[in-house]
């Protein structure tokens, strides 16, 4: 089979979003070169979209207000002249979702500033009673959280078995971020631990669902130098760690 005929058979899988990596790039190159194929892709992707009808289910009622409020503070993008957008696929890579940002500045200082801004946003926001302002604050809070998490991850440590863990402390609060955590088998959760100076100074910092995949959380941390470690524990967590930590990160030195 020629390269192009081979790429053509990927169209069905592409319409189902069932391609990644090199396969997807191959299909995209092929569609860009072949108008008839793009038409076939459009038709098959319409069939795929109709599959969503069989699983329709009304969302919780509160979501409507949340979506409308979020939209109130979201600017719109102008049309792109001369570029036709393929549904879903074109919008796939938005700059906000970029994972790897190179830490150019002193990351810790930057993160500390962002954390203070987030905390300011959260606690300052509660006093506002105007719905609109609250919404704006929340949306800014979400953006700051995202930025803080991304910046913190620049300094992340790898976990044995996959995933990344980072923590940045500011005063008695710390932002803990974990990403790409492999899903655990049923009956297992991740558990975070504060590890202080003495042998007795180990206490649980919280349990992370074994299938959550990621975590962004502000925690109140014990005074003094210490570390944050993560282990795999039986579902619901253990009073003391029962396995070797997959990773640990300094909270304060």
């Amino acid at each position: 089979m020629s390269e192009s005929a081979e790429a053509h058979t990927l169209i069905g899988a592409y319409a189902l979003d069932a391609l990644d990596g090199a396969d997807r790039r191959r299909a995209e190159r092929h569609l860009a070169r072949c108008a008839a194929c793009a038409a076939e892709f459009d038709a098959l992707s319409a069939s795929a979209a109709s599959l969503s009808l069989s699983v329709a289910a009304p969302p919780p009622a509160a979501l409507r207000a949340a979506v409308l409020a979020a939209v109130d503070v979201t600017p719109q993008l102008p049309p792109v002249p001369g570029r036709r957008s393929r549904p879903g696929h074109a919008a796939r890579r938005s700059p906000v979702r970029t994972r790897r940002s190179r830490p150019v500045l002193a990351t810790t200082g930057l993160v500390a500033v962002i954390i203070l801004a987030v905390l300011g946003g959260v606690f300052g926001g509660v006093a506002l009673d105007q719905h609109h302002q609250l919404t704006q604050t929340r949306s800014r809070d979400a953006e700051l959280r995202m930025a803080a998490a991304a910046a913190a991850l620049a300094d992340a440590r790898p976990l044995t078995g996959g995933g990344r863990l980072a923590a940045v402390a500011s005063g008695d609060r710390a932002l803990v971020v974990a990403a790409d955590l492999p899903a655990l088998p049923r009956g297992r959760d991740y558990q975070l631990w504060f590890i202080g100076a003495g042998p007795a100074a180990v206490r649980s910092a919280g349990v992370v669902d074994g299938r959550a995949g990621r975590l962004e959380e502000f925690l109140t941390v014990p005074a003094g130098p210490g570390q944050l470690a993560v282990t795999v524990e039986p579902a619901g967590g253990s009073p003391r760690p029962t396995s070797t930590p997959l990773a640990s990160v300094p909270l304060r030195t």
Binding site: P59, V71, Q76, P87
Partner: protein, 211 residues
């Protein structure tokens, strides 16, 4: 927008039956009309669009990501993205519901794939294989708004060979790549991608014939 919250929970939802007809780009694309207005910054049109498509979007995302809380989060992301990008909607490339559903599906799949490392895949395979074996019935959601359209899609899905249906179901509703589907079904990847394409073609013909 305080007033829009008071909007009655729209008999318009029934319009979702613009569903399949709209989804393959033929006539009566109310969502497409609304999208054009949303592209000009019309918030009321956006609220109507939400009412029209929220069940489809949320139901699809929940089916793929499985966790209701995450499904809500992704649904909100998707609608905000629809709002941001509405001016880039091109009716020449397909209907409004299709544009929105494609976006929803791709975001749901992104969420599922980023939530698991490659090392976890095999484990998840063995965990999912038995249940999804009787895929066709698993698809039927309890709450169905567009019953007729739903029936039609299901009839058309029933018209596929078992192997086509299985491959499409695992990819679309479970977010697997075709290589993963191949591994799961112990079939050659080339065979699986052919099944997916042939199955979608058959589905397209069946849905098109009914409208």
């Amino acid at each position: 927008m305080p007033t829009s919250d008071a909007r009655p929970p729209s008999p318009r939802i029934v319009d979702t039956s613009g569903g399949v007809g709209g989804a393959d780009g033929s006539g009566g694309d109310r969502a497409g009309e609304l999208l054009r207005r949303v592209g000009r910054g019309d918030r009321d049109a956006f609220a109507d669009l939400y009412d029209l498509l929220a069940s489809r979007v949320y139901g699809l995302i929940r089916r793929v990501v499985r966790d209701p809380a995450q499904a809500e989060e992704v649904t909100q992301e998707v609608f905000v993205e629809v709002w941001r990008n509405a001016a880039r909607f091109d009716p020449g490339r397909g209907s409004g519901p299709r544009w929105v559903c494609a976006l929803a599906h791709s975001r749901a799949v992104d969420r599922v794939r980023s939530a698991q490392a490659a090392s976890d895949r095999e484990r998840r395979f063995s965990a999912l294989a038995p249940r999804d074996a009787d895929s066709g019935h698993d698809l039927v959601a309890e709450t169905v708004i567009t019953r007729l359209e739903h029936e039609r899609v299901r009839r058309c899905m029933d018209g596929l060979t078992d192997r086509q249906r299985e491959s499409i179901t695992l990819a679309y509703y479970n977010g697997y790549t075709y290589r993963e589907v191949a591994e799961l079904l112990k079939a050659p990847p080339a065979t699986v991608k052919t099944r997916m394409r042939d199955g979608l073609i058959r589905l397209r013909d069946c849905l098109g014939a009914g409208s």
